[in-house]
């Protein structure tokens, strides 16, 4: 646990904390932190309970709208709005708990459908007075780049602490046992339903909180911007690329792939998509456990 903190969490946070002083694209830095949180949040549910939610962005969007609506409708101060965003994602997570009865691709697709349903509910023109409908949200929460970035780092720290703790605590080990074999885990006395629920809600909360911070920083957005399926896909790819269930894996996944995406993906998208596709295929075929799996193979000789 202390090794995880010293080798991964603290160095990452320290670098991210000083970067704004030397690098002035604050929006891009925030995006990196957003994807780090989403990747680690997805890592919670996929890495520890085996559920891969393609609709993970639904929690992000719920958080963004929880923030926006609490600020615009209830006049909440933005800091409280961030908590409201987290609350909204928890609520969505609770409503979706029946999905945990499904397995594999069925679960993934059902969660995707749920995220789409939420997008179309929020984007409904008849709800314009409440959600802004398809015309989106214009917030006057106050532009606070430093504060939003610091908040995002705090959320990242909490999410990574949770992952680090799970990797060493008996609760995390029991989740892994249930992921390996649910029936055998039940016979070992493990309350699988409770464990999966806790991790599902924690994962939802991480995405919701960072969605709220993203909304605060962005201030003006349309519903499909915060329910963009690319958030899910990126988070999944970064996590799988790095290695689910590990702490450093998703970090490397985000830094390498999102870095690559920003370096060449925007200027030469046709080559980027090609390279990206080939890379993912190679990983899926030969290194299903991601970078972490390669590292383990080398360590094992």
């Amino acid at each position: 646990m202390w090794r995880d903190l010293g080798l991964v969490v603290l160095p990452l946070l320290a670098v991210l904390a000083v970067l704004p002083a030397v690098y002035d694209n604050g929006a891009l830095l925030l995006n990196f932190v957003v994807f780090l949180v989403l990747a680690q949040g997805l890592n919670l549910t996929y890495g520890f309970s085996g559920y891969l939610p393609f609709g993970y962005v639904g929690f992000f969007g719920a958080g963004a709208y929880g923030f926006a609506m609490s600020v615009t409708l209830a006049g909440a101060p933005p800091l409280l709005g961030v908590l409201a965003g987290g609350g909204a994602s928890l609520l969505v997570g609770l409503l979706l708990t029946p999905l945990l009865r499904l397995q594999g691709a069925y679960f993934g697709l059902a969660s995707l459908a749920a995220a789409e349903a939420l997008l179309h509910l929020i984007g409904n023109p008849n709800l314009q007075p409440v959600t802004g409908g398809p015309y989106g949200v214009k917030l006057q929460a106050g532009y606070a780049p430093l504060l939003t970035y610091a908040l995002a780092l705090a959320i990242l720290a909490l999410t990574m602490l949770l992952v680090a703790w799970l990797r060493h605590a008996r609760f995390g080990l029991r989740l892994l046992a249930a992921r390996d074999d649910a029936l055998a885990a039940a016979m070992a006395g493990i309350d699988i339903v409770r464990g999966r629920l806790v991790i599902w809600l924690a994962s939802a909360l991480a995405a919701g909180l960072i969605g709220a911070v993203f909304a605060w920083r962005t201030a003006t957005f349309f519903p499909d911007a915060v329910f963009d399926l690319n958030f899910s896909i990126f988070a999944i790819v970064f996590t799988l690329f790095g290695g689910a269930g590990t702490l450093a894996g998703p970090v490397f996944g985000v830094l390498l792939l999102y870095g690559l995406y920003n370096a060449i993906g925007l200027s030469a998208p046709q080559y980027f998509q090609l390279a990206y596709g080939v890379l993912i295929m190679l990983l899926a075929l030969f290194f299903p456990e991601g970078l972490a799996g390669i590292a383990r193979r080398i360590a094992d000789g």
């Binding site: 008996r170 029991r174 892994l176 390996d180 029936l183 039940a186 016979m187 070992a188 006395g189 493990i190």
Partner: protein
């Protein structure tokens, strides 16, 4: 029937058109080893699955120390002291052998120390290995150790002996008898009659979802029905 620590009464189960169990009574007392034998498909494993909460019974009751377990999920039954092993072992393959025991939640009776349990089933040298790398016999022993790690009062053992060498069999038999001596109630499903003979006090013979015979194995071997459906006639002396 003697007052049992675990009592199954009138347990019935139907799979579609197949009556797997048709009202089975079975009990085991503390410190007793009951052999559950019978031909394949006679309902032995179904009975264990129902007792342990893997399957729901259509009818009947399951009581542990007088308390009905019927509506409790498997992990609650484990917590109250009922556990089992699996015919095809089910380790947690990505966890280490030691972790396989550490995840077990100690229940009613205090759980046992993982290191001592690994020692007892001779898996201590493999403690740091992933359980998925063990042989299937080792995985069976790991299953047994994990079940014991929950601190059970009653243990249902489903075909543990298959594939074990005579030396391993002897050690497992000694181990099971020692557990019974400590007060554990055991129901042992087994096809290996020599093993059953060595460890059980009495046997229950099942056929086609019903109990055919109750008594000692020696008596069973003389029972006409049991011989017909299951044991077969002894080889004539050459």
């Amino acid at each position: 029937m003697a007052e049992g620590l675990l009592e199954l009464r009138g347990v019935a189960k139907r799979f579609g058109g197949f009556q797997a169990l048709a009202g089975v009574d079975l009990a085991v007392a503390a410190g007793e080893i009951v052999g559950l034998i019978g031909p394949n498909g006679s309902g032995k494993t179904t009975l264990i699955n129902i007792a342990s909460g893997v399957l729901a019974a259509d009818a009947g009751d399951i009581r542990l120390a007088g308390r009905s377990l019927l509506h409790l999920p498997a992990h609650r039954r484990a917590a109250l002291g009922l556990n089992r092993t699996f015919q095809v072992p089910r380790p947690f393959p990505t966890l280490t052998v030691r972790q396989n025991l550490e995840v077990a939640v100690p229940g009613a009776a205090a759980g046992r120390d993982p290191a001592a349990l690994l020692d007892a089933v001779e898996l201590a040298p493999f403690a740091g290995r992933r359980a998925g790398e063990l042989t299937s016999v080792q995985q069976k022993l790991l299953d047994l150790a994990r079940a014991l790690a929950t601190g059970p009062r009653v243990l249902l053992v489903d075909e543990l002996a298959t594939g074990l060498t005579p030396a391993e069999l002897a050690r497992v038999a000694t181990r099971l008898r020692a557990l019974a001596a400590e007060g554990l109630g055991l129901i042992v499903v087994e096809h290996l009659m020599a093993f059953i003979d060595r460890i059980t006090d009495r046997v229950v013979v099942m056929n086609a979802g019903q109990v055919l015979f109750r008594g000692t194995l020696r008596e069973a071997a003389k029972d006409r029905q049991v011989v017909d459906v299951f044991l077969g006639a002894p080889e004539p002396a050459a």
